[in-house]
């Protein structure tokens, strides 16, 4: 939406623009999928990110051929980009679940117009994240040894290892997000089924809708299940990044062995997640003219969430630094020194700027409600959060206890190809999504209309 928005709207933008009815909402959103022709812009983006996905596949193929040695990892830095990206993507995923589950429990109605594609984003992000733990294995073809199955070795995974926790947390998270997203879709799929002119489209949507017909009984059970899922997803989403943070917190490495990690990883996750939501929402509402549904109110609120979580993250850094000094443990104090003066100091400074410094502009409404500015801020935050993981993984590892085994880490072109490749795959999947599924929850939008209220018949 252009900067010259009416003052009234700026003061308190509504969650849905006035003048809409059940019918208009239904038609506007479903038409994006059913009626709207394929645009060139879409084709270009789809094709471009498709190519990048190809690059990812190439990088992976070569990786399996030669081994993780093609990456920059070494001893002492046994984990490099792979784990950095893993944590980054998982974090991004969190916003989706947060919006759809936690905000639902908090009765935040403004969520209704963004939860659908936020959840889709979660799925794709988690898919990207899920790749890395597998790719970074020395022998990826044995990944299934991390699952307990009755094998002829009579040997099992080692459940004290945070990596096993990861496997369970991430796969649970993905499954739950998927079903949550899917049952959210069912009523809309029914809508599409009934709107589709094309027989085959009707068929496909029909099969997916599973014969939903909006019976009051169904609705009641449906609402209950949805609510329960939200209730389950909320602790889940918090647990997932906590578990991810355990990968580090459980280790004895200075800079990893910290109790502050779980809360500030979760905060960081939501921080980066909302940044990604905005980076997707802002162009989409423009491209598909959805300013009525994704209003400035949404941008404003998301920005506020980012500000809040950003401050929590800042607090996390502060505590880390303070403890480095206060604990009197010279390994920890050296870690702090190394972040400030070591060979990777610039990543640390950049991270402070991206995650703490620059986002403070969000205190100002005219940064929160100007889509373009907000887009920039989000981009900066995403970079910052990636750097945070880099700092945690690499700076802690490259100089640990024994000075004799200190080393350096330099990413190779394969590291970069894999990283960029996943971004490509993420957007590729997202382009696909907006074409074939309603990116905004139609039935939940309907409930936002005033006429959805049942007036007490006297």
């Amino acid at each position: 939406m252009d900067p010259q928005t009416p003052v009234t709207e700026r003061r308190k933008a509504p969650v849905i623009a006035p003048g809409h009815t059940f019918a208009t909402i239904t038609d506007k959103i479903s038409s994006i999928v059913l009626a709207r022709p394929v645009t060139n812009a879409w084709l270009v983006g789809f094709g471009f990110f498709g190519l990048i996905t190809m690059m990812l596949l190439y990088a992976i193929g070569y990786l399996f051929l030669r081994g993780v040695g093609i990456w920059g990892v070494n001893i002492p830095v046994g984990w490099g980009f792979a784990i950095v990206n893993f944590v980054w993507w998982i974090g991004i995923g969190h916003a989706g679940t947060l919006i759809s589950a936690i905000l639902l429990l908090l009765r935040q109605q403004w969520r209704n117009s963004i939860n659908r594609f936020a959840e889709a984003m979660t799925l794709f992000a988690v898919a990207c994240a899920g790749m890395f733990p597998l790719l970074h294995l020395g022998r990826p073809w044995l990944f299934y040894w991390l699952f307990p199955y009755p094998n002829s070795m009579n040997y099992w995974p080692q459940f004290r290892s945070p990596l096993v926790w990861d496997v369970f947390a991430v796969s649970t998270y993905f499954t739950i997000s998927l079903v949550f997203w899917f049952i959210g879709l069912i009523p809309d799929l029914a809508t599409l089924r009934d709107r589709a002119e094309n027989k085959w489209a009707a068929m496909i949507y029909g099969i997916l809708a599973m014969g939903w017909r909006g019976s009051a009984r169904h609705w009641k059970r449906y609402e209950k299940a949805y609510l329960l899922l939200a209730g389950l997803a909320t602790p889940l989403v918090l647990s997932v990044h906590t578990v991810v943070s355990f990968d580090f917190a459980v280790a004895i490495l200075p800079g990893w062995h910290t109790t502050i990690f779980p809360p500030y990883f979760v905060a960081g996750a939501i921080y980066s997640g909302f940044a990604m939501v905005l980076m997707l929402a802002i162009p989409i509402r423009k491209l598909y003219g959805l300013e009525d549904f994704i209003t400035l109110r949404h941008l404003d609120n998301s920005a506020k969430v980012m500000l809040a979580t950003g401050l929590i993250v800042a607090y996390g850094y502060a505590v880390e630094a303070f403890m480095g000094w206060y604990s009197g443990n010279h390994f920890d104090s050296f870690l702090l020194w190394n972040r400030l003066h070591g060979p990777y100091r610039f990543t640390y400074y950049a991270l402070l700027f991206c995650n703490i410094g620059f986002p403070q502009v969000l205190w100002f409404r005219n940064w929160r409600t100007r889509p373009l500015r907000l887009f920039v801020v989000s981009a900066v935050i995403l970079t910052g959060m990636w750097l945070e993981r880099f700092v945690i993984v690499v700076i802690s590892l490259h100089r640990d206890f024994l000075t004799s085994s200190w080393g350096m880490y330099y990413p190779t072109k394969w590291d970069w190809m894999t990283f960029i490749g996943t971004i490509g795959f993420f957007l590729f999947a997202f382009f696909l999504f907006v074409r074939i599924l309603p990116m905004i929850s139609i039935f939940e939008m309907r409930t936002l209309l005033p006429e959805a209220e049942v007036k007490e018949a006297e």
Partner: protein
């Protein structure tokens, strides 16, 4: 690579098709495994070979350069199949099993045999036991019964095993590079030899390396009897000329000097690096030195005055880094200090004080002190050392003189000079080079290479293990048999003779030097066995020769061959000034490389990748420059500089070495080989260019000029100080003797109590109830940083060599590393060695984080690593505070080269790509001993089970054993107050612990030390 094509052309003019063959060899170096073999068959003279070349080799070459190929593709298929979760269904292929036709009685399949033999370098033997699996030598150990080895070896001895299996070894006899048979060689050789008969062999010249073999010496005599006018020359690039010259100067005869360090309370080294491999008697000296470093008994005190930072200097209680030329002055000052009339040396203030202090101490240690002069010091310094030892009454006590060990104790530089002038004068009709590589390592001013390839020498024959630079310039090259393939005999530094017995038939039908010399004296069919045995039959007066012979083979040495001490008397003592030291100009020092010596080991991957003791450098020979000097020149490590000496110049990278004397540049010999093989060719820089006969060891007047550009060096140690910018890290706990006596348990602060833990005993894993609980104690006082343990471990455990690039990426694979730390003023630092194997922590951090349980504890407290379970998350390594785990980032193991398959230890899994590995306390040895002990129904006796690193440790620094047995050596050591755990405060409960290092400084010289520590404290 291409310039080699050109070169070869001008070398052998009119040599047909030379270019192609050079190209062939060049490609052979690039190809690997099956291709290599195939090519060799083709080399053996098929007609259409050349056009085949051009079809075959590019493929082979590209395959080696990047592994994506047929084989690689199959691997990809395998991987993707596996990814489809099919591994469960992939079945083991059927394997053949091949029994003997007639099995030798002594062979029990599955059990190794040990044979006594000896490895010799420059004529000095290291007595060894060689482990053999069904006739394949797989491991070299020190011969514990032998008084010289006492079980210890050095890096060269350990690594010589790899040379046996080196796929680049010369595998055929060649004429101008074309393969020929031995018989055709005999035919071709017979004529020229016969034609020498009337001339009494006036045209025959034989050139060997220095050797001590009595049998060979005898053969030489009979050959010279046959051809009285023939000449036998000896050349050794890293020679002991000045040692013998020094003796000549002092006693009028060349004698060998032995030291009895266990009797010495005070040791003064004048530039002698006697605590590192390659020094005659090193194994024995290290043992004796270490035996006097126990702070609870009477401790010796060592002063080292040296011109290059060495591991010996690192162990000194007081070390004085000075220019090499200065050492003569120092020796004079020292001598006159104790009343030898040697004229006062011109010394600086501090140096004079130093000398005075040492003098005072020496005076109070008559008969219990020793002064050792370095091989690279001029004769006069040796003469002075002799004089001092005489004056102190050390002779007969700590110093013993004997006949020279070398069979021909002539000055090898002069010997070669004569040869070259004869060659130039056209007096040489046939030159027979038996071993060695003079074309590469002769003094530059001789121009040996040019003299050799000139038409003035009509027949040139080279016998050697490799087709090296010299072989290329000779007509005939005869591939030599490795010492593990051939019979022979040799002397240890004390004269004791060991019989060298072959472990395996020559892999490529090589000839031994004995067989070749036999050929010269007309017995063309005599085998090495006959020659050696015949000689000893002559020597053996007693009746029962077979008994004597079998005994000699079994024990590894011949009774009664040890030299008896000589009484020698000093001649009139005048000590001619040899060099005038001017401290202004920069001095250059030539030293043999600690890893590849004079270049003879440059194709040995184990040694190339062995971190050199003080710099931790691998694969290269940068020059050493002291910190202060580097600051003056404005250079830092990896900068390129140009060295200019007497008109010759070379480009080399810089390594700023703590403790390197000011204004002294040390260059290391042995690198820059052009024809070493796939591992040696093209690494490092050839320092022989600058070296000439006038200045074999050092010279003033070097110009060092910084040039643009830099050169990447691969050092394996991240940082050489224990102290990070914040917080000191007492990784090596150390103090001096007085402090130790005051506070003997200083090392055990922060050591958590045994009961400080939240964890209950794991059911079934109560270590205290176990018959065995394995542990290791490493005595930092004894460790002399000789690196032997690293190579021993590499050989025992099939550890891969990864190459310079991978080392640079921080992926070297050594299970056991030796950290070198420097403390205090970097120009006069105190240095420490710390061997770091796996700590086998009882509360192992690595195990907890492994998702698949690939590393868990055994009931005997071992931190088991199960390769075949590992999926390669590398989490364990991240969580290992000692960073002792090693990961196969790529497929580092060479699975194709057949020779390597023969070399590997069949009792240790060969790890493949994507798997973590680490020190296992040699679990294969533990298991074997446990099995045998259980079958015999007796407990494993202390000391009979030794890890590879412990077995061949010359200084007994590594002690492994059962800590549940209170009488075991290791348990006793761990009971000592100076026993501490590395990073003990983490409460990982390491089974490997260290005995803190105690130095024994001279109170008089304390101020130096305190000065140093003052600098240190302001650093931290």
């Amino acid at each position: 690579m291409d310039d080699r094509g050109k070169k070869s052309e001008e070398i052998c003019p009119g040599k047909k098709g030379s270019l192609d063959l050079v190209a062939v060899r060049k490609r052979l170096e690039q190809t690997k495994g099956p291709e290599y073999w195939r090519s060799l068959e083709e080399l053996a003279g098929t007609a259409e070979f050349r056009e085949m070349m051009h079809r075959e080799f590019p493929k082979g070459a590209s395959e080696w350069l990047d592994g994506v190929s047929r084989r690689g593709f199959l691997k990809l298929m395998g991987a993707s199949l596996a990814l489809a979760g099919m591994t469960a269904c992939t079945r083991q292929p059927l394997e053949p099993i091949v029994p003997y036709v007639k099995q030798p009685e002594e062979f029990v399949p599955g059990r190794p045999l040990f044979y006594a033999s000896a490895f010799s370098m420059r004529g000095y033997a290291t007595p060894i036991l060689v482990e053999s699996h069904l006739g394949r030598p797989t491991k070299i150990e020190g011969n514990a019964q032998h008084p010289v080895s006492l079980g210890g070896t050095d890096v060269f001895t350990q690594a010589s095993l790899l040379d046996l299996y080196d796929p680049d070894r010369s595998q055929t006899l060649t004429y101008l590079g074309d393969p020929y048979s031995w018989s055709s060689f005999l035919a071709a050789f017979h004529g020229p030899l016969a034609s020498q008969k009337p001339l009494q062999g006036a045209g025959i010249r034989v050139l060997t390396q220095s050797f001590s073999s009595p049998a060979l010496a005898d053969q030489m005599q009979s050959f010279l009897k046959l051809y009285p006018s023939a000449k036998w020359h000896v050349y050794e690039p890293v020679n002991r000329d000045s040692v013998y010259a020094g003796a000549q100067m002092a006693f009028g005869q060349p004698v060998e000097t032995q030291y009895k360090l266990d009797k010495a309370d005070v040791i003064v080294s004048l530039d002698a690096d006697f605590l590192y491999g390659g020094y005659p008697g090193f194994t024995r000296y290290a043992r004796e030195y270490a035996s006097r470093r126990d702070p609870d008994k009477s401790m010796n005190r060592m002063y080292v005055i040296e011109s290059t930072m060495t591991s010996t200097g690192a162990k000194a209680d007081h070390r004085l880094p000075v220019q090499a030329a200065k050492i003569e002055q120092f020796a004079r000052a020292l001598a006159s200090g104790i009343g030898v009339n040697a004229g006062a040396g011109q010394l600086g203030d501090a140096e004079a004080k130093f000398a005075a202090a040492i003098g005072d101490e020496l005076k109070t240690h008559h008969g219990s002190s020793v002064v050792i002069a370095g091989d690279n010091q001029p004769p006069v310094v040796h003469a002075l050392a002799h004089a001092i030892n005489q004056a102190l009454g050390n002779v007969g006590q700590t110093v013993v003189y004997t006949d020279p060990v070398s069979a021909i104790p002539v000055n090898s530089t002069d010997s070669l000079r004569d040869l070259v002038s004869d060659m130039r004068a056209g007096k040489v009709d046939m030159l027979i080079i038996l071993g060695g590589n003079p074309a590469y390592d002769a003094p530059a001013d001789f121009g040996f290479g040019d003299a050799l390839k000139s038409a003035k020498v009509p027949l040139r024959i080279h016998l050697g293990l490799h087709q090296n630079e010299t072989a290329e310039l000779c007509h005939w090259h005869v591939n030599e048999a490795h010492y593990l393939e051939a019979w022979g005999d040799t002397r240890a530094y004390d004269g004791t003779v060991s019989i060298v017995q072959p472990l395996i038939a020559p892999l490529y039908n090589g000839k031994s030097i004995y067989e070749f010399v036999a050929l010269l004296s007309g017995q063309s069919e005599a085998t090495g066995y006959e020659v050696v045995k015949a000689y000893w039959q002559k020597q053996h007066s007693g009746p029962d020769f077979d008994m004597f012979w079998r005994r000699a083979l079994h024990d590894g040495w011949i009774e009664g061959t040890t030299f008896t001490p000589k009484d020698v008397t000093t001649k009139a003592a005048d000590f001619p000034t040899s060099t005038s030291s001017d401290t202004k100009s920069i001095e250059i020092n030539f030293r043999p490389d600690p890893s590849i010596w004079d270049g003879r080991f440059s194709n040995n991957g184990w040694l190339q990748e062995l971190p050199k003791p003080v710099s931790k450098m691998t694969w290269d020979n940068p020059i050493f420059i002291g910190p202060a000097m580097a600051a003056r020149l404005g250079v830092q490590k990896e900068d390129l500089v140009e060295l200019e000496l007497q008109g010759k110049s070379m480009l080399v990278p810089v390594w700023v070495q703590a403790g390197q004397p000011d204004n002294t540049v040390t260059v290391f010999l042995g690198y820059g080989r052009t024809r070493a093989g796939r591992t040696g060719t093209g690494f490092g820089f050839d320092a022989y260019q600058l070296r000439n006969s006038a200045i074999p060891w050092f010279a003033a007047g070097l110009n060092v000029r910084k040039v643009s550009g830099s050169y990447e060096l691969a050092s394996t140690q991240g940082m050489q100080s224990m102290d990070a910018e914040i917080g000191q890290r007492p990784l090596v706990r150390e103090t001096d003797l007085d402090e130790y006596r005051k506070e003997p348990n200083f090392a055990q602060e922060e050591e958590p109590k045994k009961d400080e833990t939240l964890y209950p005993v794991v059911p079934g894993f109560d270590y205290s109830k176990q018959p065995y609980a394995w542990g290791m104690a490493i005595d930092l006082n004894s460790c002399v940083g000789c690196n032997n343990c690293i190579v021993a471990c590499q050989s025992e455990n099939n550890i891969a060599v990864v190459g310079k690039d991978q080392v640079n990426r921080g992926r070297h694979m050594h299970w056991l590393r030796v950290d070198t730390y420097y403390e205090g003023d970097r120009d006069q630092p105190r240095a420490f060695f710390q061997p770091v194997p796996c700590m086998q922590c009882e509360n192992a951090p690595c195990e907890v984080v492994c998702p698949v349980g690939a590393t868990v504890h055994s009931t005997e407290g071992l931190n088991d690593m199960v390769y075949n379970r590992c999926v390669g998350t590398r989490y364990c390594s991240n969580n290992c505070p000692y960073k002792v785990r090693r990961f196969n980032f790529l497929r580092f193991q060479d699975w194709e080269t057949p020779q390597y398959k023969m070399m590997r230890n069949p009792n240790v899994t060969v790890r493949s790509r994507g798997v973590m590995e680490k020190c296992t306390y040699c679990i294969q040895r533990i298991t074997q001993h446990r099995v045998d002990a259980e079958r015999a129904d007796t407990p494993i006796k202390d000391g009979e089970l030794q890890t590879a690193c412990q077995q061949s440790c010359p200084s007994n620094a590594i002690i492994f054993g059962n800590i549940n047995d209170p009488n075991s050596k290791v348990a006793k050591l761990k009971g000592l107050l100076r026993n501490y755990s590395l990073l003990g405060e983490l409460n990982t409960r390491p089974r490997t612990t260290y005995l803190a290092e105690i130095r024994n400084p001279n109170p008089q010289l304390e101020h130096l030390a305190t000065a140093a520590s003052a600098v240190e404290s302001e650093n931290s």
